[in-house]
Symmetry: C2
Subunit: 283 residues, 2 copies
């Protein structure tokens, strides 16, 4: 997905919030805003938003000297998500279609996002998403792909959300590799977050190698790229991964909640839509 | 009021919306965003927001070659407000305290604001504001000032809102001068808008001389400045005028709805507060 003009003020807004998360020093926060303001005119509208997001959050880390501003927020998200894990497992067990309910839970977890400016309530999100109508639901195609695939490549998104992904991973009960970011960026999940979420027994954990808030292939490791091209089934979670991979033609299924108005419009769907979309299905 | 860091992304967002209102040419809209992005690091945080707003909207007009992007929006606002005028007059007439109800109507009209990004419904706003509790209400002080003053200097804010101000002007029934901006900026009222609102019989109309979205004294005409300093009672409508005049010690009463989180915080009040505040009263 390309960058839209609406993304530009949003980048500046994200920089402000990330800088405030990283430091209380008003001079440094202003320096971040100045640096990002100067950067905005250089952004190609042909680039994907995570490409720019990567540069912006690098700038925040560099100026504030804080490499992981969201560390505490991420730990808190994981703790809260873990407290909801038994409830989610019970919903899946009691459901007539446990797989679909687990997909719903994975999407509910996608509400945890500190990039754009919005508040959320995980518990409420579970209650809403367990019965909400899908805006796109390529579920039959997904079930077929799942039955025919060996190992699943599951690309995670945010810390805390990993617990929700764990519910889906356990329900699918297939060999899987769970992919996280190499370095902290916003509240995106890294190895540490996936481990804290309890994804460590049957599932292989790996880093994609990127420090972008999305699976920006040109910044990923060779090892990940090989696995990506070999994968028979890829699950891509969240907006950042969608933005980075939406023009790819792999066997990808995008699972997300369209929280951002620009992404929703790109997909031709209302804001707040819940989505299970096959990459090779028509938009 | 000074500029807060939160104002910077908001300026860029306002530039985007104003540019889109001014033209469909995506190249020009991008040029506006680039120019405003480059301008942001040069903004002194000691300046008031309307000082910067002025430069930003000048840039929008210059690049898009559209001197009045909100012309149609302003006409529509005035037409809608005029359709609600009889209802407002009837509310004032039926009220036990007609003056206070007219003040409420003037504040309700302050919801018409196309600067920051929000939707509004004039009719609904009248219904809410007619009985909402004031966050600040220096009403006794206002009544005393009103009784003791000769001519009132009433500084208007937005097109459409003039009709709501007209209700208050008619209820006060005192000699008054209604002040508008010299040139179009956002949807702020100019002479044309005040005339369309029907403020033209008993009330003197004048321009402050400014092209800023607020009464930025250093950009006002000598004629206005004289009247400003002579005035026994000044009514200042809306956020832009508050931002420009909040550090002044004239006989000003600020009438506004605090829609912007930064202004609300500056006043120590919740967003959405309705306010009648004497400038010389403690915050």
């Amino acid at each position: 997905m390309k960058t839209y003009l609406d993304c530009l003020p949003c980048f500046l807004d994200q920089a402000l919030r990330a800088a405030r998360m990283a430091t209380n020093d008003q001079i440094k926060i202003k320096a971040v805003l100045d640096a990002v303001s100067m950067m905005l005119p250089t952004i190609s509208l042909e680039s994907t938003p995570p490409e720019t997001g990567r540069l912006i959050y690098q700038k925040v880390h560099e100026i504030t000297k804080n490499q992981d501003p969201y560390r505490e927020v991420k730990d808190r998200s994981t703790r809260e998500a873990l407290s909801l894990y038994p409830h989610m497992k019970s919903l899946v067990e009691k459901s007539d279609d446990g797989l679909l309910m687990a997909i719903r839970m994975a999407i509910a977890g996608n509400v945890i996002d500190f990039g754009p400016n919005r508040a959320f309530d995980m518990k409420e999100e579970i209650e809403t998403t367990r019965s909400k109508a899908f805006a796109v639901c390529d579920y039959e195609q997904f079930k077929t792909a799942l039955a025919q695939s060996g190992r699943i490549l599951y690309i995670g998104d945010n810390a805390g959300e990993c617990v929700f992904d764990r519910v889906l991973l356990e329900t699918m009960n297939k060999p899987a590799t769970y992919v996280v970011r190499e370095k902290p960026v916003i509240n995106d999940a890294t190895l540490e977050d996936a481990q804290q979420a309890g994804i460590n027994s049957a599932v292989e954990l790996m880093s994609s190698g990127t420090d972008a808030p999305g699976t920006l292939l040109e910044t990923c490791s060779d090892r990940f790229i090989r696995r990506y091209h070999e994968a028979e089934l890829i699950i891509s979670k969240g907006q950042g991964n969608y933005e980075a991979l939406s023009n790819q033609h792999q066997n990808i299924f995008f699972l997300l909640k369209a929280k951002c108005p620009v992404i929703a419009e790109h997909m031709g769907l209302p804001v707040g839509s819940i989505i299970l979309r096959a990459a090779n299905a028509p938009l």
